[in-house]
Assembly symmetry: C2
Homo-oligomer: 337 residues x 2
C-alpha cells in the first residue's frame, strides 16, 4: 500500500460464506502487494426506496464512482415488494455482459480435460424482462425482448474480447429456427459485428445442438456469445464440466467500463462461519478484475498461485475432497506467490 496511487475498489463480501472468502481475497491481495484499497459495503437490512431492494444506494454509488468492484454471494431476503439483489445490480449498473472463463484446473480431475472456453452472456434483457401477465385465468404470458442495441453491444464485447485475448472463434448460440424474429435479430447483430473482425472465425450454433456438443466435446468451442437465458444455462453447464460454480470466475461488464467481478455460487449458509468455505471462485473472479484493470502481472502471479495450490492437492477444502480450512488454503496460496 506504499504504491503511488492505489486503486479504490468496491467490495461486497455478501452473505453466508461471503465474508470468509472475501477475507481470503484481501489476504492474498495483500500478500501479492496489489495496489488496491477496498471500500466495503454490506447488503442492508431494510429496503432502500431508491434501489427498491436491500442494496443501499451508497453501495451502488460506490461502484459507480470506483468503476470496479468484487462481489461475494448474496442471498436475496424472502418477501415481496423488492427486487432480487443480483438483478438490481445488473439493472442499476447496466451490467450488460457477463463473462465467464471456464477452464480445467490442472490436477483437479473431472470427466473433461483441457476445457478452455469463455461464455459471454447478454445480461440486461431477453427472457429476464420481468414482463409477465395473466389475462385469461390459467393462461400466462411472458415477454422476451431482444433489441438491436443490446445485441450489438454484447456482440461487440465478445469479438473485442476474442481479439484482445488471442481467441480464434466466436460462436453465437441461438434458437432462431423457432424464434426467428427475436433470436434472428440477435444473430443479425452478431453477423454485423463479425464483419468488423475478419480475423475471428464466426459461427452460429443452435442451443440444443450446442449443449449436446459441449458434453460430447467441449474443445469444439472457444468464445460463446448468447442472449440472457441461454447464457444462464450454458455458463452453468460449462462450469459443471470443470467442477462447478465453486471453481469458476465471473465478471460483469457495464457501460462506461464498469467491471463487477463476482462469485456466482450460493452463500452456503450451512457452512458459513466455520472456516470451511472454498474461496477459489471469488479469488479467480478477483483475478479477472485485475486483468480488467490491466494489472496483468499481479493477475498472473495470483492465478498461478491458486492453480498451483489446487494442483498440489495438499490443501484442499472439503468440496474438493480435502479437509483444509479456508485460512490454511489461503495461506498455502500466499506461500506460492
Amino acid at each position: 500500500s506504499s504504491a503511488p496511487s492505489p486503486i479504490t475498489a468496491t467490495l461486497f463480501p455478501g452473505d453466508g460464506i461471503g465474508p470468509e472468502i472475501a477475507e481470503s481475497v484481501k489476504q492474498v491481495f495483500q500478500a501479492a502487494e496489489v495496489p488496491i484499497e477496498w471500500e466495503e459495503h454490506y447488503v442492508g437490512n431494510q429496503i432502500d426506496p431508491r434501489t427498491q431492494s436491500f442494496l443501499t444506494w451508497e453501495s451502488l454509488e460506490s461502484v459507480r464512482r470506483n468503476r470496479v468492484g468484487l462481489k461475494g454471494p448474496m442471498a436475496t431476503p424472502i418477501g415481496k415488494g423488492h427486487r432480487s439483489l443480483n438483478l438490481t445490480l445488473r439493472k442499476e449498473l447496466n451490467l450488460y455482459a457477463n463473462v465467464r472463463p471456464c477452464y480445467s484446473l490442472p490436477g483437479y480431475k473431472t470427466r473433461y480435460d483441457n476445457v478452455d472456453l469463455i461464455t459471454i452472456r447478454e445480461n440486461t434483457e431477453g427472457e429476464y424482462s420481468g414482463l409477465e401477465h395473466q389475462v385469461v385465468r390459467g393462461v400466462v404470458e411472458s415477454l422476451k425482448i431482444i433489441t438491436r442495441q443490446a445485441s450489438l453491444r454484447v456482440a461487440d464485447y465478445a469479438f473485442h474480447y476474442a481479439k484482445t485475448h488471442g481467441r480464434e472463434r466466436v460462436s453465437a448460440i441461438h434458437k432462431a429456427n423457432i424464434m426467428q424474429k427475436t433470436d434472428g435479430l440477435f444473430l443479425k447483430s452478431c453477423r454485423e459485428v463479425a464483419e468488423k473482425y475478419p480475423e475471428i472465425t464466426y459461427e452460429e450454433v443452435v442451443i440444443d445442438n450446442c449443449c449436446m456438443m459441449l458434453v460430447k466435446n467441449p474443445a469444439l468451442f472457444d468464445v460463446l456469445v448468447m442472449p440472457n437465458l441461454y447464457g444462464d444455462i450454458i455458463s452453468d453447464l460449462c462450469a459443471g464440466l470443470v467442477g462447478g460454480l465453486g471453481l469458476t470466475p465471473s465478471c460483469n461488464i457495464g457501460e462506461g467500463g464498469i467491471a463487477l467481478a463476482e462469485a456466482v455460487h450460493g452463500s452456503a449458509p450451512d457452512i458459513a462461519g466455520k472456516n470451511l468455505a472454498n474461496p477459489t471462485a471469488l479469488l479467480l473472479s478477483a483475478v479477472t478484475m485485475l486483468r480488467h484493470l490491466e494489472l496483468y502481472d499481479k493477475a498472473e502471479r495470483i492465478q498461478n498461485a491458486i492453480l498451483k495450490t489446487i494442483a498440489e492437492g495438499k490443501y484442499r477444502t472439503a468440496d474438493l475432497g480435502g479437509s483444509s480450512t479456508t485460512t490454511d488454503f489461503t495461506k498455502a496460496i500466499c506461500s506460492h506467490l
Copy 2:
C-alpha cells in the same frame, strides 16, 4: 403376418437417410414377427393447403386413424409460406408430450456410465408459440405462453409414466426464480399432480443448476418434466451424455392416446443412399412404439438384439467408429433376435 389381427401403423420414412433406416426397422420387425402392417407416407413436393405445409392431409389422417406411427428424419424444405414439418405434426396431432429415454448403451463407451434418465417435454406451447413482433424498429418481442391445462396434462403424463415404469422420482425443471408467473404456473400444476402420486418423490430444479448437475452426475436424476424449450435443450444435453441423437429414441404422445415415435437426428444428406446410416435411433424409437402398444415381449426382444449388436462391436456403423453397412448391422440385429 398370419397373426390374427395385425395392427396398422403409419410410417414416415422421411428424407435423406430416412428410407434406409426405415427399411432396417421393417426388416427387424419382420424377423421378430411383429404383428404390424405399415402404411407408408412420404412428404409431399408441394404445400398442402389443408396442412399449410409439405405434409399431406392424407398422411395426417393416416396417423389419426391408426393412432400410432413411426417417423424418420424430415428436412423442412426452404422457403416461405409454410410451416416446419415437425411443428405441423405436433400441432395438428396435438402431440403434447415428447418422451425421450436416455440410457448408456452397454459396451459403447462415453464419459458417463449407467445413465438412465427419461426427459418428458411439453411439446405444444411455451417458447414455441410462434408469436413474435417488432413494433419499434430494433426492438423485437416474443411471447412465451404457459397454460394450466397443458402443464397439468404433461405433468400427469410424467407421473403416470414414472408410476407405470417403476421410476421413483420426478423433477420439474424451471426458471421460476425469474419467470415467476409462467414457470410458476408450470410448477404449481406439477405440484398439484404430484399430490395424486404420493409414492413418487417430487422435486423442483432450476434449469441452470439442472444442467450443471447433469454434466457432473446424471445419476442424480430419474424422470424430468419441463416446458417446451427447456425440454428441447435438456433432452439434447442428455443424448450427448450417452453418445448423441443417433442413439437415443423419442416418442411423441398425443391426446386420445396417439403415439408418434421418431428419430430426432437429422437427415444426413451427405451419406444418404450409401448404406452407411446408423438406424439405432429409429429402431429404438420403434421399440418405444411397441411398448406403447403393449407389445412388451417384442419390444424387449428387439431392444436386446440392438443392444447386444452394439455391445459386441463387430458390426458398427461409421458414426460409432466401425465400418459396417446399414444392412450388415441390421442383419446382425436380426441374427440376435
